[in-house]
Amino acid sequence: MANDPISQFQLSRLVPIEIGGMDFSFTNSSLFMVATTVVAAGFLMTTTANRGLIPTRLQSISEMAYEFVASMLRDGAGSQGMRFFPLVFSLFMFVLIANLLGMFPYFFTVTSHIIVTFALAMLVIGTVVIYGVMKHGLSFLKLFVPSGIPGVLMPLVVMIEVISFLSRPISLSVRLFANMLAGHITLKVFAGFIVAMGAQGALGFMGAALPLLMTIALTGLEFLVAFLQAYVFAVLTCMYLNDALHPSH
């Protein structure tokens, strides 16, 4: 198990639950989803419990996260977009904490499963479509008809817009999933090299320093990716919500 870079993504049923022939078992993934919620909500709530006028260090971290997402949303979707703040903030914090928890050795990375990221992406796209249609009715379809395009090109442009809209949930989910998956596999492969080379006598033991350095560098990179992917997910969410608020370009 230890040498297989895929085994870290293996789900194991901790509490088997089956309802109507479907498997709803509480798995290690479920455990880390709970852990993500507990850590994220626990941190945000305990650090702000005092409501200090002068923030403590931890409180200012929570405030920074809040203002970071708030300014992202305001820039991306305008001040009207602030009604979606809880959604964007939840997504950002959930993905960020899930990614960061995955950086602990032997911990499971919730976001390394396509179904999880796809569900989050569909939540975003579903919000965009439902809110867009509720707010603008049929004129939400103007989203696919950019103004100022000559009539001849119109069918082509509309087709491209539709395809790009439909590919959004896929690109949004695959980007996060693939980054986390690939990063963790790479890390595991290089870490495996250390053990494999270290077992090959003195020369191999010396040579194992190279994959060790690589693993250290990759760990740093993975922390960056963990933050960056949460940021990208939140930024794209803001941009898509902007379409729901202002469909005509």
Binding site: D23, F24, T27, S30, M33, M45, R51, V110, I114
Partner: protein, 191 residues
């Protein structure tokens, strides 16, 4: 690279297995876990539960609380700035009042100095005039005195001359001369 065939293979066996055995096959080696649909319902359900709870906490507790903290701080800073501006205006006013007071005091002091100088000058002028007058009066008095004494002396010179002349005549001539005669003679001589 070996993922796709392995996935395809496991997918087929997985489907066969789940139909027979239900669960317990996900741990089996060879399949690629993220593409194993057997546990998708479980992941979706638990994601919905955990993310739902997190969303509720964020929208009901966390976001309003942090937003409130930031707003309070913003208000407090604005208030403090206003207060500082007010205090600055007050202190500016106090400085202006102080300057005004100082200028007034200086002008008053000047006034007092000028008036007292003028008063002193007037007083000393009056004093001097009084003294000069007194001196002039004394001078005039003494001049008058001198003139009187001189006139008296001059008046007595005639008497002395007549007496002297009478005495001389009596002594030299032995005769008697009346005073009237002598006086006439002296008057003639003096003329």
């Amino acid at each position: 690279m070996f993922v796709t065939p392995a996935y395809a293979e496991s997918h087929a066996t997985q489907n066969a297995n789940t139909e027979v055995a239900g669960h317990g096959e996900a741990q089996g080696g060879g399949s690629f876990p993220p593409f194993d649909p057997g546990l998708y319902p479980s992941q979706l359900l638990w994601l919905a539960i955990t993310f739902g709870i997190f969303y509720l906490l964020v929208s009901k507790v966390i976001a309003p609380r942090i937003g409130g903290i930031l707003e309070d701080r913003h208000d407090r800073i604005a208030e403090d700035l206003d207060e500082a501006n007010r205090l600055k205006e007050e202190s500016d006013a106090a400085v202006a009042a102080y300057e005004q007071e100082l200028a007034d005091a200086r002008r008053k002091a000047n006034e007092i100095a000028t008036t007292s100088r003028e008063k002193a000058k007037a007083e000393s002028d009056a004093e001097r005039a009084k003294h000069e007058e007194a001196l002039n009066k004394k001078l005039a008095e003494s001049e008058a005195n001198v003139a009187a004494v001189k006139a008296k002396a001059l008046a007595e010179v005639d008497g002395i001359a007549s007496d002297t002349a009478q005495a001389i005549v009596e002594t030299l001539l032995g005769g008697k001369v009346t005073k009237a005669e002598v006086n006439a003679a002296v008057r003639d001589v003096v003329k």
